[in-house]
């Protein structure tokens, strides 16, 4: 990175199943106003805006960047739109950071959002293309065979997914913005949750949420002058791969492994488990926590589920994962990746409230999208890189 960049503003909406009280523009603006307030800025201070959301078909909105210009006070400023399916919130934040690290802009506003209540993401993901067998099973139907493959390969016991789900739903009760506040989950109750896509139970599945997340990213001089908490961007990485090809490892895609290796190298991290204090990982189905722990290099191959079973990923564990409640507790798709990135920054900034982990020096934010084929990651830290 040529120039340094820091997160100096974070703002999110309440995530819920239906924000009927606001338009999409109003929803976006709510997160933006909170991010600007925490950065001690107004719209007029912003140089450029980078926005992201999930595929337009999910809400039936054509080019939201076009009609959000008023709500983003973008008249006379550059606006960019990023598309990378479910990972979009992460890659949008990375594109925004690159506008700062490149030296082009000093104050960049970035926002991710989704109003799932206006559409239905599950069926919009099941377009019957003429060259593929129509399954009409949504994301859960796509990912459940991959999870089965992981379970078979790793020998994980059946309750691991439910352990992750109980942890994330319990953590979410400490996050006032989380969509689901369900304090009464136990492992026993979770194991009795209805099976949606074998082996994925309902409790192991993310909700459909309305919500938005916004960040203000600043250059070094602006961040130094900012009288408030900040999280320095230590490294970012993105990778992609095709949905299908012979020999593809869908449990741990090469793009995921390469992206993580590149990130750790850029951030100067040699042992992620020892050097990362808080993780915000994209886990829309509970079993992806152990899968990503392995793919990202936090756990040895086939040992990710042991981390879960041993409580390592609990908020009080050695590697707290998704203290915010994660995607399993709030999933406004276009914002979900940015929520991971922003929640990681909040941990470093010490502003995560009840779900704050003690003395976080470095945190990891992660998003993936498509058929496990787009990856976006960053490391943020309390000290300058």
């Amino acid at each position: 990175m040529a120039e340094r960049c820091a997160v100096i503003g974070v703002g999110q909406t309440q995530h819920t199943s239906c924000r009927a009280d606001v338009s999409i523009a109003g929803l976006v603006r709510e997160a933006v106003d909170r991010a600007l307030a925490s950065a001690h800025m107004t719209m007029a201070d912003i140089d450029a805006i980078v926005i992201g959301k999930a595929p337009d078909m999910l809400e039936g909105v054509m080019m939201p960047e076009l009609w959000l210009v008023d709500a983003l006070a973008a008249a006379g400023k550059p606006v960019f739109r990023v598309h990378t399916a479910g990972s979009v919130g992460g890659s949008t934040a990375i594109v925004a950071a690159q506008h700062v690290t490149s030296g082009v802009h000093k104050r960049v506003l970035t926002v991710g959002f989704e109003k799932q209540s206006d559409g239905n993401a599950m069926w919009a993901l099941s377009v019957p293309m003429p060259f593929g067998m129509p399954v009409h099973a949504g994301a859960g139907g796509y990912f459940s065979p991959i999870i089965r493959s992981y379970i078979k390969r790793s020998g994980a016991p059946a309750h691991i997914g439910c352990m992750v789900a109980v942890k994330d739903r319990t953590n979410a009760c400490k996050n006032p913005y989380a969509h689901l506040h369900e304090p009464d989950w136990t492992l026993e109750k979770a194991m009795a949750s209805p099976m949606l896509w074998d082996p994925v139970r309902m409790v192991e599945t993310c909700p459909s949420s309305d919500g938005a997340m916004a960040l203000v990213l600043a250059s070094e001089d602006v961040a130094d002058a900012h009288d408030g908490p900040k999280a320095w961007v230590h490294a970012t990485a993105m990778r992609s791969e095709p949905t299908a090809f012979a020999g593809r490892n869908q449990v741990s895609p090469k793009a995921s492994e390469d992206c993580a290796a590149d990130l750790w190298r850029k951030a100067g991290i040699t042992s992620p488990i020892d050097e990362i204090d808080a993780v915000e990982m994209y886990v829309p189905f509970a079993w992806f926590e152990p899968m990503w722990l392995e793919s990202l290099g936090f756990a040895p191959k086939d040992h990710g589920w042991r981390f879960v079973e041993d409580g390592i990923t609990e908020m009080t564990g050695r590697l707290p994962v998704n203290c915010s409640g994660g995607v399993l507790s709030s999933n406004p798709i276009g914002a979900s990746g940015m929520l991971r990135f922003g929640e990681a920054a909040m941990q470093v900034m010490g502003i995560a409230g009840e779900h704050q982990v003690d003395s976080v020096r470095k945190a990891f934010g992660h998003a993936y999208g498509g058929g496990s084929q787009f990856f976006a990651m960053w490391v943020v830290g309390a000290n300058k890189p």
Partner: protein, 160 residues
């Protein structure tokens, strides 16, 4: 509708075309300002928001196009206005509020600073010209949509 096909076809060069028909229902939560505007239409009332520069936006702008600030001041405008420009539609398509030839027009409603795109039931292209006065004709069963204004009709010159 143009562009689509229901046929599987193979061209002379072997290229194959398959049909892909999508039907997918959405809804739109429009927020507090458009909620008021659209419910107003049900009661034959057209309202806009007052921008920071004093201009009246119809339909209402939620955020000021100049400053980005949320707008909250209302201004009721007339259901009568003036044709700013127009184009003749000789062959109405499904979904048009009028099923006989009509004009698409930009209409400056009295009291508004924005032009509203709507249909004008002018009879023939010879009967309409820029500068003419028009008035809203309301739909018989309002639902809270811009089509609660079925169309605009010409105000007789003598009355104007």
């Amino acid at each position: 509708m143009s562009g689509g096909t229901t046929e599987y076809t193979i061209a002379d060069d072997g290229s194959f075309t398959a049909p892909l028909e999508l039907f997918y229902p959405y809804k739109r939560t429009v927020g507090p300002l458009l909620s008021r505007f659209l419910t107003g239409l049900r009661e034959h009332r057209i309202e806009g928001t007052l921008g920071s520069d004093g201009r009246v936006h119809v339909p209402p702008a939620e955020f000021d196009p100049m400053t980005g600030e949320p707008l909250s001041e209302w201004a009721e405008v007339s259901s009568t206005g003036t044709i700013v420009t127009w184009s003749w539609q000789p062959s109405p398509v499904e979904g048009n509020t009028l099923q006989h030839p009509f004009a698409w027009a930009l209409i400056a409603l009295d009291g508004a600073n924005t032009n509203l795109l709507h249909a004008v039931d002018a009879g023939s292209a010879d009967a309409i010209r820029t500068g003419m006065r028009v008035q809203a004709r309301w739909a018989t069963e309002p639902v809270g949509s811009i089509t609660d204004i079925e169309c605009f009709e010409l105000v007789p010159e003598s009355a104007a």
